[in-house]
């Protein structure tokens, strides 16, 4: 039986620039032009100062794992082959917390504070999903 396709992001006018940048293999988030706050998820106004002036700003792509979980239960038939898979919260250097998968590592070796960096997964011709892997400077043992 063919595997059903995985869910894709629901792209809206609010976050189209995020996905266009991802397609170019860059991580862009909104930065307030008045107070410099970097925000996520997308919003037409700054949640800190209220300004509606912002730019899509390129992120370093580096951050640290704040928390993570491992799915053992299959909620999506399309993820059946990935179980057990991780989902992590990553605090970016620029401040915002984002959600992603950590790739290229056994789930048993994840830890809070692990330094990670963004990689780009071209899942379809149109959509590229940012994921994260262990940062080059992170000493890796027991892999």
């Amino acid at each position: 039986m063919p595997t059903p396709p995985k869910p894709l992001p629901n792209i809206t006018n609010l976050d189209r620039s995020y996905w266009q940048a991802a397609k170019r293999h860059e991580l862009h988030l909104q930065k307030c032009l008045d107070c410099s706050n970097v925000r996520y998820p997308a919003s037409p106004v700054c949640g800190r100062c209220g300004s509606n002036r912002y730019e899509w700003s390129k992120m370093s792509g580096r951050g640290e794992i704040a928390s993570w979980v491992v799915f053992h239960r299959c909620y999506f038939p399309s993820f059946a082959g990935d179980i057990p898979y991780n989902v992590a919260m990553i605090e970016l250097e620029e401040g915002p917390m984002v959600i992603s998968n950590i790739v290229g590592i056994d789930n048993r070796f994840l830890f809070r504070g692990m330094r990670v960096e963004v990689v780009f997964d071209d899942v379809t011709e149109e959509i590229t999903i940012p994921r994260f892997c262990i940062a080059k400077e992170e000493p890796v043992h027991a892999l």
Binding site: K6, P7, L8, P9, P41, G47, A66, S67, W68, V69, V70, F71, H72, R73, Y75, F76, F79, D82, P84, Y85, V87, M89, M97, I99, S100, N101, N107, F111, R112, V123, I129
Partner: protein, 386 residues
Amino acid sequence: MPGDFKRLRELKDSIAIVGVGASRQGTFPELDHYTLGIEALHDALGDCGLALRDIDGLVVQGPGDISFVRLGEMLGLNPIYGANFDVGGLGTIPLVQQAAMVLHSGLCQNIALIYGNCSRTEGRKFGGQTTVSPGREYSSSFYYYGLTSPGAASAFQARLHFETYGTTSEQLAMVPVVQRRHAMLNPLAIKKEPLTVEMHQKSRFIVEPLHLYDYCLINDGGVALIMTTAERARDLNKKPVYISGIGRQDTYQESSLPNHRLWRETMPKAAEMVYGMAGVTQRDIDALMIYDSFSINIWISLENFGFCKPGEAGDFTQGGRIELGGELPINTHGGHLSESYMQGWLHHVEAVRQLRRECGPRQVKDAEVIQFICRGNLASTVIYRR
């Protein structure tokens, strides 16, 4: 503190819960959520001695499609006030709060709050491609990463707690183990087989680090509460249970993500509000009801409401302290983990029955004041007294 705290304090002990009711709890493939809600309503009306025609406010809630208009149509009831609040279990205390304010304003005389849930029969998984409602965006914004379910959001919090404070899953197991012992004393409870820490540890992960027994049940059932003013309450069947304090503090910041602050930004504010309004402290609480969709909620609620310090809940919940007969019994009915998953509504019922001293073998001796706490984007709490 809220804008006009003096005015809010006028609410203290002015509104009462006068009737509580529950339907059958379990798996009922031949029934639906309206039928179960109405079964509970009849139970609650019988409990307080009011007739359906006395009800002029109708609040209806449940995880499925349930409408106060449709339920009113079925009952032949045309109230002055009807309402719903589609935020799942997060709404259970806010709806009691709203009903109290509506009664206090004089708009209505007697409000029925009716809850109906057929999640077991409808096959609801609380994860995957389901509809989104306010307060649960975290469960649906990142499907493309495989992230879904309230359980996953709680698993992130359990991991944070373990990693930050060195607490363990084995310590957390004491929550479901104690609640199972309580359920074994409750005729309404669904799960009554003994549960041990070892069984918890050997049970499968759902979303790691949470095991099967850290999760609530999913079942069918209905619950109803009848509320009125303290003045009218005195003429009814049972001893009234008064609302002494209510606290609520929302956070919408980063609500599309699982909360990574263990709700430390909001729950202490709800605590300050509720204790300030009720004029009591943590030491006055004879038993706690805590919204336990997942075991970790107990720890987070205890810490954020000042029953212990941040990071200490793992130790605090050992050694019988939270068990019947202990210093601070928690979820004496068995809660969502063992009694029934009625999204908080049976926690109100248990608080009322405990304060009326109707609980038989699971009665908290001399219970005078009981608090119910719900964590979440909408942190809420109520203090009941007899």
